[in-house]
């Protein structure tokens, strides 16, 4: 740490000196983010203050770039982490540091880096600060582009696990784009891209009972074909046997298949996705779980909702067993038409569903899922009998006048809470059926000043029962003011039929933004990009500052 600090100080002084000498000596740039909350006890809603009263998460990135060279660090401080974040983040330090040289055909990075092979089914390192997720690699990566249309990405490294680095992962990815490669195809209507990856992890085996494989390999192949506005892309992954905590120590191989197909023309978009996931937990430590040390990323194929009520019960990918599909149709009804109105109307219909995969005993004399065995057999095309999730929703955007815009939404949801929240060991309520409604209206009062009113409701006989919600937001140049009330009027417990009031004021200028808020927040689940974080109920002040430079 001391060495690092001193060397970084030197770098800083040198670059500072050089900058003064010459304007073209490079740039220092980065960003800063702080999320803080002051907690008060509120026994009724189950909000608990931290012993420190405050929770603070802060991140600061500093990068130096000079032509083909770049280097940087990220300082992170959790004093302590906000409620709902993993408390193992407590502390402060510089967990992310890198240096990179990029000469057109080759790029070398030493230190920390993020990476994704294909759609991420076999390997993806990424960060999602809102979820406290960061599985960055620490090692060496080489990107090699010997010829236009041919790309290689090789890496070796350990993975971040809170303040430690552990595991050992090696990977190579090759991608070929026929249209970039072959001169004749440059202007072709048909586009073809192919790719393949190989990833292997190493972990010693000192187990007394089982003989674990120390090296576990996974391979993936992918393809992207499009003709005009018709596009088809797919990726398949095969993973060798990898007994782990997640799969109950079975020796079965893993598989994943993801398919996306789209068609579009001006005013119409159609999107279809399907996937099958079988035993695809792939971590650099076989005893890790939840968000620890994942090498790969299995995307949800459900719509990420932005409104609170439709987002109350978010789906979470089931990495050991899932079969699902999603389809969405987006259509814009022309302006000046009878149905479209003077300013046009945009409609999107979305449907998604998920189930488990079919499983049968691995042999006539055994049962499903016994540790130390092959676990189960599965028919690739058969669905299991466990229903996970279904979401049907329709959203209509309509502009009534140049100053008045509206959005309406309806959602019908079926949610298997036992399965989806099961991993968190929270009290669950079986199958939940909900109907949610949203009306969002924005009215421009005068130039640059607008009022937004959002009304939402959610009806269900399970879990916490019915909810109603109202948001009023006023925006003027550089400022916004918001008042929110979420009212749990249908809670089965009369005492818990409470209002969750909150308010916030925000200021923004250029790349800087400040927001302060006060109020009660309900317990919930926040999901970004396919992974989720349970957020406990809270009561108190919040502060958020983001700034880029």
């Amino acid at each position: 740490m001391k060495n690092l600090s001193v060397s970084f100080l030197l770098l800083f002084i040198i670059s500072n000196y050089l900058y003064a000498q010459n304007d073209n000596i490079g740039q220092i740039h980065g960003n800063f983010q702080i999320e803080a909350q002051y907690y008060q006890d509120d026994t009724l809603i189950g909000a608990q203050a931290l012993p420190e009263h405050f929770g603070i998460n802060s991140y600061s990135n500093f990068n130096y770039t000079k032509e083909k060279f770049s280097a940087g660090v990220r300082y992170e401080g959790y004093f302590p982490p906000l409620n709902g974040y993993d408390q193992r983040y407590k502390g402060a330090g510089i967990p992310f540091k890198y240096a990179s040289y990029n000469a057109d055909i080759i790029e070398i990075t030493a230190g920390n880096f993020y990476e994704q092979y294909g759609s991420g089914l076999v390997l993806r390192a990424y960060e999602e600060k809102n979820l406290g997720y960061d599985n960055t690699f620490e090692g060496i990566r080489i990107k090699f582009n010997p010829y236009q249309g041919i790309y290689f990405k090789c890496l070796i490294g350990r993975q971040r696990n809170f303040w430690n680095y552990s595991g050992l992962v090696r990977g190579i990815d090759a991608e070929l784009n026929a249209n970039e490669l072959i001169g004749k195809l440059k202007e072709s209507k048909m586009q073809i891209g192919l790719g393949g990856s190989f990833v292997s992890k190493y972990q010693t085996d000192q187990d007394a009972v089982y003989k674990y494989p120390e090296n576990v390999a996974a391979g993936a192949g992918r393809m992207n074909i499009s003709y005009g506005k018709l596009n088809f892309s797919t990726e398949y992954v095969y993973k060798a046997n990898d007994p782990s905590f997640d799969n109950g120590k079975i020796y079965k191989h893993g598989e994943a298949l993801l398919i996306n197909a789209t068609y579009s023309q001006k005013g119409l978009g159609i999107f279809f996705a399907a996937k099958r996931i079988d035993n695809m937990s792939f971590r650099s430590d076989r005893s890790a779980s939840l968000s620890e040390l994942s090498i790969n990323y299995i995307p949800d194929i459900t719509k990420p909702h932005t409104y609170s009520m439709p987002a109350m019960y978010p789906y979470v990918t089931q990495i050991t067993s899932e079969m699902g599909m999603q389809t969405e149709i987006i259509y814009t009804i022309k302006k000046e038409s009878k149905i479209g109105g003077k300013y046009g109307t945009n409609i999107s219909l979305n449907y998604s569903v998920a189930n488990n995969i079919q499983k049968s005993p691995p042999s006539d004399t055994s049962i499903i899922g016994v540790d130390g065995t092959l676990g189960y057999k599965s028919d690739f095309f058969a669905l299991g009998d466990e229903f996970y999730f279904q979401d049907f929703n329709i959203q209509i955007n309509r502009k009534i006048s140049p100053d008045f815009k509206t959005t309406f939404m309806y959602q019908n949801l079926t949610y298997n809470q036992d399965i989806i929240h099961g991993a968190n060991n929270k009290l669950t309520h079986g199958m939940i059926y909900t109907n949610a409604f949203v009306a969002d209206m924005t009215y421009k009062i005068i130039k640059n000043t607008a009022m937004r009113v959002e009304l939402e409701s959610l009806f269900t006989e399970q879990d916490y029962g019915n909810w109603a919600m109202a948001v009023v937001e006023l925006s003027i140049p550089h400022f916004f003011f918001t008042i929110i009330d979420q009212y749990n009027f249908g809670n089965p417990d009369n005492n818990l039929r409470v209002h969750y009031y909150s308010c916030a004021i925000g200021f923004n200028k250029g790349a800087h933004r400040f927001e302060v808020g006060y109020g009660k927040k309900r317990a919930g689940v926040i999901c970004v990009g396919g992974i989720c974080r349970a957020v406990p109920a809270s009561n108190g002040f919040t502060l958020s500052i983001t700034s880029s430079f």
């Binding site: 600090s5 506005k229 789209t262 814009t332 916004f480 990009g529």
Partner: protein, 177 residues
């Protein structure tokens, strides 16, 4: 391993020294990062150019409501903006593998004419120090960042267009000199 206890005064000093430089330096030029366009071809961000006219880089996502409000609002006046200033808008989607395949039909259905780029693992987003979306950069004719904003409220696009016009004007003036 770095823990709170071991967190020493050196890193404190460096941290605050670096915060000081917040006022002094800033990102000026577009870093070179290889991402994709909607034809699934690789696209190097150093190729973002517009013949000496203004360029806008808008980071957005299909699930980000203010982003869509902003891009919808600009879409209606984009023709006029282009005629008046020659501006080009690059709309960089940070949708990850969950929704990245949806971007192309989504854009077509909304009738947007922007140049769409895909940044599914946030590599370009990170290189540009973007924290949340929307985050919008305005570049002058020389490709230098002259203005940024990070939120959208109804009507903001009008003030933004004034900025673009200013940039277009100063570019023309320097050409005439």
């Amino acid at each position: 391993m770095l823990t709170f206890n071991k967190y020493n005064r050196y890193s404190t000093i460096i941290f605050f020294l670096l915060v000081v430089c917040l006022c002094k330096y800033s990102i000026a030029q577009i870093p070179s990062v290889v991402i994709k366009n909607t034809d699934n071809r690789s696209f190097n961000t150093s190729e973002i150019k517009n013949d000496g006219k203004p360029i806008v880089i808008n980071f957005w996502a299909t699930w980000c409501k203010p982003c869509l409000q902003e891009l919808d609002a600009i879409s209606e006046v984009y023709d006029n903006w282009q005629k008046e200033t020659g501006v080009i808008i690059y709309a960089v989607s940070i949708d990850n593998a969950r929704t990245t395949a949806k971007v192309s039909p989504f854009v077509d259905a909304r009738g947007w004419d922007y140049k769409i780029l895909l940044d599914p693992n946030s590599d370009f987003k990170r290189a540009m120090n973007v924290i949340n979306v929307p985050h919008v950069f305005l570049l002058d004719g020389k490709g230098e960042i002259v203005y940024q904003h990070t939120t959208y409220a109804e009507g903001d696009e009008e003030a933004f267009f004034e900025q673009i016009k200013k940039v277009a004007l100063s570019t023309n003036e320097s050409e005439n000199k």
